[in-house]
């Protein structure tokens, strides 16, 4: 396999690589807008690391991290997932229950097709 990556290497490292990559992102507060550089540095790992940064943490080559990451991304990417889009929006939107109202539906005309998840008249 490319760059000496083996199945065993994938099995060992995929979870940590996936977790540290851009595929999983966490933000606490609003440090970038607030230019809180200490907090930005503190949150770097959660905000998604580059292959180089992950490699430095776990002791692989950046190229190896890239191979493992792409392998896992492909595994998680479901080709048929976008079919869900075919049944969203439009009429489907008007039939959506109001969140928090235990399945209660709203008068479709009231919302003009815009989602009904908040308490205001568009």
């Amino acid at each position: 396999m490319a760059y000496g990556v083996t199945q065993q290497m994938i099995d060992t490292y995929w979870e940590i690589i996936f977790k540290l990559s851009l595929n999983k992102q966490t933000r606490i507060g609003d440090p970038v807008r607030e230019l809180d550089f200490d907090e930005i540095a503190q949150q770097r790992a959660g905000s998604g690391l580059t292959d180089e940064e992950i490699a430095a943490r776990i002791g692989l080559l950046p190229e190896q991290v890239g191979v493992v990451r792409v392998f896992v991304e492909r595994k998680y990417y479901r080709i048929d997932q976008h079919r869900m889009l075919f049944h969203l929006g439009g009429q489907a939107l008007e039939e959506r229950p109001v969140p928090g109202s235990q399945g209660e539906t709203e008068d479709p005309g009231r919302w003009h097709g815009i989602a009904c998840g908040f308490d205001f008249q568009p």
Partner: protein, 345 residues
């Protein structure tokens, strides 16, 4: 500074160099950068941009990961300009998702304006400029951008991160598409927005009631989660970009389609891997260059009150607002004329 006819370039522009004490000085040092910024804002606004901001390069360099700062792309960059354009019509948001996937995306408008701006800067000010490619790093695959346009826009003060996977929102314009220009001309930088419009008060109310905001509730793949604190601010935001990618980055499906074809156990399965209705559509989009292979899913923004109700998010209201501004400016001008006339009498 007056423009001069440049006989080498063949048109009138600001001089590219100046002779000072016998030395040829690049004109970029003599340009009034505040005026240049105003001219750039006027250019972008005329071309259809809603927002314009300049990000401080040193700040970007501090935050961007190694290899992805502006200087990695243009070593002598002095200013990073971010522009934002609006989305589709109000009706587009009410359409079904299949339709919205085709018509919701206006990012190419932002790219066109930014591309033009780079040429405008070189022509008018003689400073090198590039349209920052909004694309993926060719060494890193489909999910690692060369630059974060989001970071540029946020530092330039024309968007703030939302609960919806950090999609930037603007209090006046809602959701915008962004593009960036890098230039060696130094122009005054802006600062990030003072407040974050997300979460909207109605989202906070809903969160208190149900534990979810609309974007969390309606994400078809549950890629957004988080918490809101007592002050009504985002305390934590979690975004599963890999789940979002299955809905919004259809270009990633192509290699998987090819693998499905190779792995197919019989001719029917192989045929469907190529010709199933959904897969045929990918070939259709590729061959005619229409229909997006990315940004297909807008469900979080469809239910976002900031995107849907921001004062200038609706293009028609925007037009009305501009007409109102023109009318007010005219009235003001007439009033001033009247005063001058009275004084003349």
């Amino acid at each position: 500074m007056p423009k001069r006819h440049n006989r080498f370039l063949g048109y009138t522009c600001y001089p590219l160099t100046e002779l000072r004490n016998g030395q040829v000085i690049p004109m970029t040092e003599a340009i009034d950068s505040a005026l240049a910024k105003q001219a750039m804002i006027a250019y972008c606004t005329k071309k259809g941009a809603l927002a314009f901001g300049v990000a401080d390069v040193d700040t970007l360099e501090k935050i961007a990961p190694k290899g992805h700062g502006p200087r990695d792309m243009l070593p002598r960059v002095k200013s990073v300009i971010s522009i934002g354009v609006g989305g589709g019509t109000k009706g587009a948001w009410a359409a079904d998702a299949k339709t919205l996937a085709y018509i919701g995306d206006t990012e190419t408008t932002a790219y066109r304006i930014a591309y033009g701006l780079a040429f405008m800067i070189e022509r008018e000010y003689g400073a090198q400029a590039i349209f920052c490619p909004p694309d993926m790093d060719p060494e890193k695959g489909a999910r690692t951008p060369m630059q974060s346009l989001k970071l540029h826009a946020e530092i330039a003060g024309i968007g703030a991160r939302s609960m919806a996977g950090d999609i930037l929102l603007h209090p006046e314009f809602g959701m915008m598409y962004y593009a960036s220009v890098f230039t060696e001309l130094e122009i005054p930088a802006d600062v990030p927005m003072e407040d974050n419009p997300c979460p909207h008060p109605s989202c906070v109310k809903l969160y208190k009631k149900s534990g979810k905001t609309p974007c969390m509730q309606f994400c078809p793949v549950d890629c957004i989660s988080g918490t809101i604190d007592e002050a009504g601010k985002v305390a934590e935001m979690h975004y599963d970009a890999h789940a979002c990618a299955t809905m919004s980055q259809q270009y990633e499906a192509i290699p998987n389609m090819l693998l499905d074809m190779m792995d197919a156990q019989d001719p029917i399965e192989r045929g469907m891997a190529v010709h199933s209705p959904e897969n045929q559509l990918i070939w259709y989009k590729l061959s005619i260059g229409a229909g997006e292979l990315l940004s297909l899913c807008y469900e979080c923004m469809r239910v976002c009150p900031i995107t849907q109700t921001a004062l200038m998010a609706d293009p028609v209201a925007r037009g009305r607002g501009m007409r109102q501004k023109v009318a007010e400016a005219e009235a003001q001008a007439y009033a001033e004329l009247d005063v001058e006339a009275d004084q003349g009498d």
